[in-house]
Amino acid sequence: MKGNEALAEGALTAGCIAFYGYPITPSSEIAEYMAKKFPLLGGTFVQAESELAAISMVYGGASTGSRVMTASSGPGISLKSEGISIIAEAELPCLIVNISRGGPGLGGIQPAQSDYFQATRGGGHGDYNIMVLAPSSVQEMMDFAMDAFDLAEKYRIPVMLMAEGTLGQMMEPVFPREKVTQFTEKPWAITGCKGRKPNIVNTLHLSPEFLEYRNSVLADKYKTIKSNEQRAETYWTEDADLVVVAFGLMSRIVKKAIMEVRKKGHKVGLIRPITLWPFPEEQIRKAAESAKMFLSVEISMGQMIQDVKLAVNGKVPVEFYGRIGMIPSPEEIAKQILLLAEREGF
């Protein structure tokens, strides 16, 4: 199955009933899949007039308490950022997908990880975060789409699934898993006030005291998510002198490189962040107790490295290797690791 289709299928399995989107390469197959499926399933597909309209429709759809989503790529997510900020403050659950490509500007349509800041620093205005999941296989495209809806409801937060364009486009075998959906009660939903007081979904807080209160509510929630939901995969970190940090598809390429340099006797490990926000600080901090050095490998000019450095907190050096436009190959990364090994003597 193609990654984009697996993601869409996962969303449907999780009970997504509406898709609002605007076409953009390399994410468009998600919209196309939903356009094909929803009329048969009785769901809603709307091709919006713009990314702004698409995210606004998500805002409306999510306010009804239904599971709704949109998908786009970097330039589209920039436009959507207005709505993402609003949805984050309105505390509405939804799934936002970024099948990412390289920027800045219109950039290209090749896979990239240069939207890391955009995803993990909010992207829009104000003090907010969204959860960001980074799959590394087509199977995870499907699985994480399901998990995303549960997390979104649990914390009343927009969840972004961010995958390099390659993951959206490539095909791999997928095993559908049965979904026990964790639907939550939604007394806040906008459904018409039959038998209750009217509900209001609002993000305008003109009173300074109330604005401060709202920001503290969000901050508390983000703190809870940070302590509960940091996720990462670790490989060979116990004895590692060098720990490489890489996410998404890049982590698979790095894994291959590490297997090669391990054969040559160098103790190298890998940490693969699954949640980009909250960033898996715990796993990195733990590895920093024994490792001599970190290396952040990204398809960008260096963005995640900032989070790696914050987590390492000056204990050991953090190096960077990355390309954007082109993707680093396993051989290239292995060479980079060997250079560091020679320089540092591990």
Binding site: V46, E49, S56, M57, I190, K194, N199, N202
Partner: protein
């Protein structure tokens, strides 16, 4: 004792924050009376805009959602498609609807979204301090057209009702005014017709309401009503521009 007048159930007891002589209050009441008379309060979802009526969620006594600038028709679309039996009302001003939200309103109309838009046109950005709007008349002085709107620089005021009436998806489009009691009664009839159009599933409906802004026009309430009659009504004629029967 017989009650001859009372607050509609669809309005809360909150006091309007609107300036003296502003006609937002009248329009709010007309919307609320229509919703009450159609027995739809518990079935209605309102979307308020960015602008003077941004706080309308405090005034309408049904489920409300506050939109980002201009996005109300897209948000209403998102809700209506999931809950097609609900009554969706967006309440928007001219800066919100005809400028930053132009794409959203045109496409909601083109798609024939079964929503009702109450479009309050007072020819200025009220809340931000009286700047030029897309509906500001030629020669009209605002804080961003201090020498009067010049067609060479700012082009011509947009006639939204006429523009949207050209869309096949529009089922009911009208322009009304609330400058005197007779027109207020006509405005209410038109809003009700728009809501009925929505509930019959005929398509998109919008009522453009010519309204006043005494504060930003620099006129008293009575003079504002006269200014509306003398200047707005010749350029923005009242009437029904699209009526789709079943």
């Amino acid at each position: 004792m017989k009650t001859v007048a009372r607050r509609p159930e669809s309005l809360t007891s909150a006091k309007f924050h609107y300036c003296p002589g502003c006609t937002h209050g009248i329009i709010h009441r007309l919307v609320a009376e229509c919703v009450d008379e159609m027995n739809m309060r518990e079935n209605t979802i309102g979307i308020c805009p960015v602008g003077c009526s941004v706080l309308a969620y405090d005034y309408f006594n049904f489920d409300m959602l506050e939109a980002g600038h201009g996005r109300a028709p897209a948000i209403a679309t998102g809700i209506k498609r999931i809950m097609p039996d609900r009554c969706l009302i967006t309440y928007q001003g001219d800066g919100d609807l005809a400028s930053i939200g132009m794409a959203e309103i045109v496409h909601a109309s083109a798609r024939g979204e079964k929503i009702t838009v109450v479009f309050v046109n007072n020819t200025v950005y009220g809340m931000t301090g009286g700047q030029m709007a897309p509906t500001t008349l030629l020669g009209q002085v605002t804080t961003t057209s201090p020498y009067g709107r010049k067609k060479e620089e700012a082009g011509y005021p947009i006639k939204m009702a006429e523009l949207l009436a050209t869309n096949e998806g529009s089922a009911y489009i009208s322009r009304v005014a609330v400058n005197n009691p007779a027109n207020v009664i006509k405005a209410k009839k038109s809003i009700k017709k728009a809501l009925q159009t929505q509930m019959k599933g005929l398509g998109f409906s919008m009522v453009e309401v010519l309204s006043t802004c005494p504060t930003n026009w620099g006129l008293g309430p009575i003079d504002s009503l006269k200014w509306l009659e003398d200047n707005m009504m010749p350029y923005y004629p009242l009437g029904e521009f699209k009526v789709k029967e079943a």
